[in-house]
């Protein structure tokens, strides 16, 4: 209890902690939203790939002194295009193309960052350091959240139909490719925002875990989006509390919290929980 009180006192006292909390919650919300589409489209690996592939963009942005968003968005979309190109032009499966491209991008980014030898702390890029979030980072994250929410609201019906039945959507003339790259762009923006909160390595967890948890509780897409965003936010809040209290790295703390929420849902959810399955099994026996 005293640690909770200490956390709230800290929140009142320290500007950096407030900034960290607000940023982390916004990242939880946006990754919960985009992650829902990612898992329903069977693109978890793609989410992992794009988030890793922005690393050279981060390095180049530091070198040129431009905003990280532009470098990351450029390399994120480039990676998505390359993956599509390799998968289309060879007989290789999609996941193989993903594996080749994202590891190459990640390796390139790693080398570029070491070359830059700037104040960029590779460890922080990889695993996040939410307590070092600046006010301009907060503004950036806020802007990304607005863009992600707008994208989802404006294109909700197109995202829904192209996720559920892409061939039907394509047959009636919907530009499913444009939508796919739009989603990839959102993914890179989320990645940039989540860099400092959870770090590149663990972003995929923020995309996949809250969405998967929400999926266990509902059979409605709209509800799933709201639930996933909420679970992302709650994971960020609780994770940050642990991070502050026990001096754990913020990214792993948030991701572990999300994983625990998933585990609880996995056991308890009425729709497809383990308890229900066990009970069902007993009844059948």
């Amino acid at each position: 209890m005293t640690s909770l009180v200490a956390f709230f006192n800290g929140l009142m006292q320290y500007n950096f902690l407030q900034t960290a909390l607000i940023t982390a919650i916004m990242v939880g919300v946006m990754s919960g939203i985009i992650g829902s589409f990612i898992i329903l489209r069977g693109m978890s690996l793609m989410g992992d790939a794009i988030s890793h592939a922005v690393l050279p963009g981060v390095a180049v942005a530091y070198m040129l002194g431009i905003n990280v968003v532009f470098g990351a968005a450029f390399f994120g979309i480039l990676a998505a295009l390359l993956i599509g190109f390799v998968a289309d032009r060879t007989k290789l499966k999609n996941d193989t193309a993903i594996g080749i491209v994202f590891s190459a991008f990640f390796a390139l980014g790693f080398i570029l960052i070491s070359l830059a030898e700037s104040s960029t702390n590779l460890h922080h890029v990889l695993f996040g350091n939410v307590l070092a979030v600046s006010d301009s980072d907060l503004l950036l994250t806020n802007a990304v959240l607005v863009v992600v929410v707008l994208f989802t609201v404006l294109f909700y019906k197109e995202l829904l139909v192209s996720s559920f039945d892409p061939h039907y959507a394509q047959a009636y003339g919907l530009k499913v490719q444009v939508l796919h790259y739009g989603l990839m762009l959102m993914l890179t923006l989320v990645t940039v925002s989540a860099l400092q909160t959870v770090g590149i390595i663990l972003i995929v967890a923020m995309l996949v875990t809250p969405a998967a948890t929400a999926f266990l509780w509902t059979e409605n897409m709209g509800v799933m989006l709201v639930l996933s965003a909420s679970i992302g936010a709650v994971s960020a809040l609780i994770g940050l509390y642990f991070s502050y209290t026990f001096n754990w790295a913020s990214g792993p703390a948030i991701v572990l919290t999300a994983a625990v929420l998933f585990l609880l849902s996995f056991i308890l959810s009425p729709k497809q929980g383990l308890l229900r399955q066990l009970k069902g099994g007993a009844a059948n026996a």
Partner: protein
């Protein structure tokens, strides 16, 4: 008139058929039949540009089909749908209104009312709020037909709509197809069950592996022993049309002559 002009298709470099030209008559139900590997599904996927043809294209009333894709209602093979998707029956049918709504417009009361009407037309009113994974194969296929009803498209493409579904669903779907025919729509159905060809179709496109379209025209003219023997096998032609000596094992299976693509 829906026309296919000089269409050639390949899968990963291997040609499937080349230079296919066929007309599909409005107000008729056209079946596409042929053995595995003949390219039946490929033909419609190429027509709709879901798979890029090597050559040629489909046009509707002189304009390439890709430029008027909203005129197309496509019901693909059921196996390709994710049945765990968090969506209920009514919301799937509402998707039929998306092509007309276009970007940025949200389906509202009118669209939901349309969807409900279509749902009752296929006899599934009680299932509006079921998650789609909780339906039988036949019920699900009727849901996709209801979505096509709502879309009000002049062209309907169906890929194996009757594969593995119950008799009642099959009958309901046929009833809707006949309504569409009466309304002058062009209906194209990839089909595997040769026994019901004369019952279900007005026109027929018969395809054969490597040869493309071997015959097309009114069922009465092209559904002949010679054409089936050419496209499938001599034995099958004999069994189906009841002449010549057929292998007894094949003859015993006469009621179940089926080809799955």
């Amino acid at each position: 008139m829906l026309r296919v002009k000089g269409l050639s298709a390949a899968y990963e470099g291997t040609p499937i058929f080349s230079d296919v030209s066929v007309d599909f008559v409005p107000g008729k139900i056209t079946g596409i039949i042929g053995p595995n590997g003949a390219g039946k599904s490929t033909l419609i996927k190429n027509m709709l540009n879901l798979v890029k043809p090597v050559n040629g294209y489909a046009e509707l009333n002189g304009v390439p089909l890709v430029k008027q894709a909203a005129s197309v209602a496509y019901i693909e093979q059921r196996a390709e749908i994710d049945l765990t998707f968090p969506i209920d029956v009514l919301d799937v049918i509402v998707m039929g209104t998306y092509p007309k709504l276009g970007w940025f417009k949200v389906p509202g009361k009118t669209q939901r009312a349309q969807a409900k009407a279509a749902l009752s037309k296929v006899g599934l009113s009680d299932f509006a709020h079921r998650q789609i994974g909780n339906l039988s194969g036949g019920q699900l296929q009727r849901v996709f037909v209801a979505r096509a009803i709502v879309q009000e498209a002049p062209l309907v493409f169906m890929d194996e709509p009757f594969f593995g579904i119950d008799m009642q669903s099959e009958a309901e779907i046929i009833r809707i197809l006949k309504e569409w025919r009466a309304a002058g729509k062009t209906i194209v159905v990839v089909h595997h069950d040769l026994n019901k060809v004369s019952q279900y179709f007005d026109e027929l496109v018969i395809m054969s592996p490597g040869a493309g379209v071997v015959a097309h025209g009114p069922v009465a003219e092209v559904f002949t022993q010679a054409n089936i023997q050419a496209a499938f096998s001599p034995d099958l032609g004999n069994v189906l049309f009841g002449s010549g000596k057929a292998d007894s094992a094949v003859a015993a299976g006469k009621q179940e002559v089926a080809f799955n693509d």
